[in-house]
Structure formats: structure tokens, C-alpha cells
């Protein structure tokens, strides 16, 4: 009875508040390089069968439909929106973006991480590392010799530079990308990095510009693909739906209160 309404509204409240959490995370990351927005996917819950369809009534006719009451909603998953973020110019030597499919691979110690953020740095040992707090190494690692000038990263991922005392560009490393059968199944790991899951499947490695892989654009960074306008509109909608569900609770509660007071003394 009205208890079902209370529970349905409660599922609505909890799903909407999770929805607000996801939107808040997206908005907080509007300036994060290589960030991919998350979308909450809602689905309806089970339906309680109160009357079976096809049952004969007193006149011998069959009921055309049954009577089902739904039990609310839930968030089935959060889905990565892998749309390309807009390119922004960044004049640093090791800034790059992938123009198309693919992820940079970084070494997280016990496993590989995958990232769209291309803000790489040279660390004290000369290795290329991702410009995040933990600074994981690029995988396969690239050593940049000291005092190299005129760094150029080509579309196919080849890194060229002029060694100390030299006059011509020489190859000093190459970037390998990875993609997945189902990239939306990747798990956000924090620090701009995703890790593989059984849903994403194993990584498929390749060179930039090869097959479906995008080209490397040197001295550009991929900005966050969060659209603040869409996120804010979704925030308003979700917040209102949260309020509507709280109204359902009030209505059901009011009805239950009336029933509780049915018996007079």
C-alpha cells in the first residue's frame, strides 16, 4: 500500500542524490586536462504483480492486462562520455593530445594505467612522466637525454630532438597508444588515469595514426569534455526530481497518518 510509495520515493531520493554527486564531480573537473565526463544511467526496478493478465472473470472473459506496481528506480551504472575534448594550445615541449581514439599508457607499478591527459614532464632521471601528483612514468618508458633542444613530436608518435652539440634532429623515442574493445568499461582510478576491467577487455596496443588510433598533436592539450551548461541543466533537473520524490514521501506519509487515526475513541 502506501508503504510501497514510501519505498519507491526513497529509491528515487537515493538515485537522484547519487546523480547529483556525479554531476558535482563532473563540474569540479571542468578544468582537468583529459577528463571524461560521467553520466548516470537510471533504470526502473522490479514490478510487483497484483493481478495476473489472462485470468478469466465471472463472465468467462479474459482480462486483457494485469496489474503491476513498480518499485522505483536505481542508477544502473555511470557511463564514460568519451567524446573528444577541445584542443587547447600549450607551448611546453612534452605537451601532446591524441586527436582521435587511444589512450597514453603509464606505469602504475603493479599495473598499467591509461590516460587521455597529455601533459607530460621530464623527471629528474630524464624519464617522461605524467604531470599529475603521483607522476607515473610513460609506458613503454622514454628517456630524454640531457640538454636536448628543439623537441618535435610527430603525428605518428615519434619524438625527435637535437642532441647537445648536434645540428640535426634525431629520434629519441616513440609513443605507443592503447585502445579497448569497450573503452566505456574502463574504471576511473583518479589522477587522470583509467585502469582496465573485465568489462573493458584487455588493451590493444598500436602506434598513433595506425588503424583507428588518432594522431598525436604536439604542443596541444585535450581539455575536459565536460559541458558546464549541460551539467548545470542536469543538476537543476536532478535536484527538482529529488524534491518531487520527497513530495511523494510526504503524500504517502499523510495518507498513512490519516489511516493511523481512523479509529476514534
Amino acid at each position: 500500500m502506501a508503504i510501497v510509495a514510501l519505498h519507491s520515493a526513497a529509491t528515487g531520493l537515493s538515485a537522484m542524490s547519487t546523480g547529483i554527486d556525479v554531476i558535482a564531480h563532473n563540474i569540479a573537473n571542468t578544468n582537468t586536462v583529459g577528463f571524461k565526463a560521467l553520466r548516470s544511467n537510471f533504470e526502473d526496478l522490479l514490478y510487483q504483480q497484483k493481478e495476473q493478465p489472462g485470468v478469466e472473470n465471472a463472465n468467462g472473459d479474459q482480462r486483457p492486462a494485469g496489474l503491476f506496481v513498480g518499485l522505483g528506480t536505481r542508477i544502473s551504472n555511470t557511463q564514460l562520455d568519451l567524446a573528444l575534448g577541445s584542443a587547447m594550445e600549450d607551448a611546453k615541449d612534452f605537451s601532446m593530445m591524441i586527436d582521435g581514439e587511444g589512450f597514453f599508457q603509464v606505469n602504475l607499478g603493479d599495473q598499467n594505467g591509461y590516460t587521455r591527459a597529455g601533459n607530460f614532464f621530464k623527471n629528474s632521471e630524464g624519464d617522461l612522466v605524467l604531470g599529475t601528483t603521483s607522476g607515473p612514468r610513460l609506458e613503454p618508458s622514454v628517456q630524454i637525454p640531457d640538454n636536448v633542444t628543439g623537441i618535435i613530436i610527430q603525428g605518428d608518435g615519434t619524438i625527435l630532438g637535437i642532441p647537445e652539440g648536434g645540428i640535426e634532429h634525431e629520434e629519441i623515442g616513440a609513443i605507443t597508444l592503447a585502445t579497448f574493445t569497450n573503452p566505456t568499461g574502463l574504471k576511473p582510478h583518479g589522477g587522470n588515469v583509467f585502469i582496465e576491467t573485465t568489462a573493458s577487455g584487455p588493451p590493444i596496443e598500436g602506434q598513433p595514426q595506425e588503424g583507428a588510433f588518432g594522431a598525436i598533436r604536439h604542443k596541444f592539450l585535450e581539455s575536459s569534455n565536460v559541458d558546464p551548461v549541460t551539467e548545470l541543466v542536469n543538476l537543476i533537473k536532478t535536484q527538482r526530481n529529488f524534491e518531487f520524490n520527497s513530495q511523494s514521501i510526504q503524500a504517502a506519509d499523510e495518507a498513512l497518518q490519516v489511516i493511523a487515526n481512523l479509529r476514534s475513541f
Binding site: 528515487g12 533504470e43 514490478y47 496489474l67 495518507a255
Partner: protein
């Protein structure tokens, strides 16, 4: 005696049921492809008619009152809802009424594995590369009821429902039309089961699919909230009548029927 007490009770019960239905509609106001339900209530026949007792078995006056109110059979509002732009290449929406995507599912709450229909066009790829729904990961079917396998790499859905990769057509998404939507039952996870003969579903030759869009929930929160308030008021008024009947009996027993020594 006190026939009206039972009529009022049926009013309370039925309106509590309406609250349940609208609470579910409101809870799903953000669910893609959700179709709200009508909480239909119908007049209940007097007992003599319901039980087929004939006319001499019951009281003539009471028969004329009727039997109160009853929750009607389930009815789903299949009107097309607003399309929302998402830009996701694997999102698709249907604009026409009574058209659905077909998926292979063992829906929760039932042991049936079979073809289910959905208006929720949020698709994704699973580990083996098959096209699946995001809600529940059910296989999306092509026109010949076969799952659709994709390669890795960019993918696009064209307005005819064809799935393209690198310019090549790698599959087509089935769009089915239902001739009788009354035979559809909700199964959760945005799915509908077909409860009836298989020929109710016909596969469209030239469907129209809008890619990059999803169909929003069909729930109109304002209407649903109004009906919620309406149901609450009906519960209150029916409960007041129950209390009135109670007072009447109180009077009859304790005042009118008082034995004065």
C-alpha cells in the same frame, strides 16, 4: 449493515494504490525511455453482479449503489517523450509511437529468456564487442533477431538504424513495431516483455533512428505530483467517511440503544 463502510474502505485502498503508481512514475522521472503508467480506477460492480448471483439473491437498494471502486487494469502511456541531445554516438532514440528496440534478456523477476523490447536507446559495447544496452547489458538484436558484433574503433549509427564503422556497414539495429501495446508488460531495467503471440511484433524495413539523442522519461512531474495530491485527498476524504460511519454506529449502539434501568 453499514454497506457504505466497505465502499469507503475500497476508496482508501484504491487511492493508496494510485499513490504507489505515481510514486513509481515520479521516481523514474530521469529514467531514459521510461513510460509512465496510468493508475486507472473503475467502478466496482455490486456483489450480485460480480459473483453472478442473479437478482433475487441480494438487496435491491444496495444493488443500485454499486460496489465501490476498484483498481483498474494496468495501462501504460506510450506517448513519445522529448528527445534529449547527448552527442554520444551509441545513443539512439525512436520518435514514432509504438516502435521499440529489441534486446535479448532474462529480465529480473522472471525466468523468461527471450526477446524484450525497450525505448531506452543507450547502447555500449561489451567485452566481446557485441552491442548491448547500458541498463543491464542485454544484447541488442538486428533485423533477423541476431546480436550485432562490432570492431573496436569509432562507431556511428545512421538515420536508417545501420551501424557503421570506418564507412562500412557492420550491422543494423532492429526497430520493431507493436500492433497491440496492451500486450506489453514492464519487466524493470527499462524493458517490456511481450505477453502474446509473436506476430504482434513486426520488424520495420526502413526505420527512422535518431542517433546522438535519447528519449527522456515520459513522466510529467507536475501532472504526477497533482495526481499524488489528489490521491492523498481522496484517502483523507474516504477515511473521514469511515470515521463518520463509525460515529453512526457509536450513536446507534451507545445512545439510541442504551438501556436505561
Amino acid at each position: 449493515m453499514n454497506y457504505g463502510l466497505y465502499l469507503s474502505a475500497s476508496g482508501v485502498l484504491t487511492n493508496l494504490h494510485r499513490q504507489d503508481v505515481y510514486a513509481n512514475n515520479l521516481a523514474n522521472a530521469q529514467t531514459v525511455g521510461f513510460k509512465p503508467e496510468f493508475a486507472i480506477i473503475s467502478q466496482r460492480d455490486p456483489e450480485s453482479v460480480e459473483e453472478g448471483l442473479g437478482f433475487d439473491a441480494s438487496h435491491d437498494l444496495l444493488d443500485r449503489i454499486g460496489g465501490g471502486v476498484l483498481a483498474g487494469l494496468q495501462s501504460i502511456d506510450f506517448s513519445p517523450a522529448n528527445l534529449e541531445h547527448t552527442g554520444n554516438p551509441l545513443d539512439a532514440a525512436l520518435e514514432q509511437r509504438n516502435q521499440f528496440f529489441a534486446v535479448l534478456a532474462d529480465a529480473p523477476g522472471s525466468d523468461q529468456v527471450g526477446i524484450h523490447l525497450t525505448r531506452d536507446g543507450r547502447f555500449s559495447r561489451n567485452t566481446e564487442g557485441f552491442l548491448v544496452t547500458v541498463a543491464g547489458g542485454h544484447l541488442v538484436l538486428g533485423p533477423d533477431d541476431e546480436p550485432i558484433q562490432l570492431q573496436s574503433g569509432p562507431v556511428a549509427i545512421d538515420p536508417g538504424g545501420q551501424v557503421r564503422q570506418a564507412g562500412e556497414v557492420v550491422g543494423r539495429i532492429q526497430v520493431a513495431e507493436m500492433s497491440d501495446t496492451n500486450a506489453m508488460q514492464k519487466r524493470g531495467q527499462n524493458l517490456f516483455a511481450i505477453d502474446g503471440p509473436a506476430n504482434l511484433r513486426s520488424v520495420l524495413e526502413n526505420p527512422s533512428v535518431k542517433s546522438g539523442f535519447v528519449e527522456a522519461s515520459g513522466t510529467d512531474p507536475i501532472k504526477a505530483l497533482m495526481k499524488m495530491i489528489d490521491a492523498t485527498k481522496s484517502v483523507t476524504s474516504n477515511a473521514s467517511l469511515i470515521r463518520y460511519h463509525d460515529r453512526l454506529m457509536d450513536q446507534a449502539v451507545n445512545t439510541l440503544g442504551r438501556v436505561v434501568a
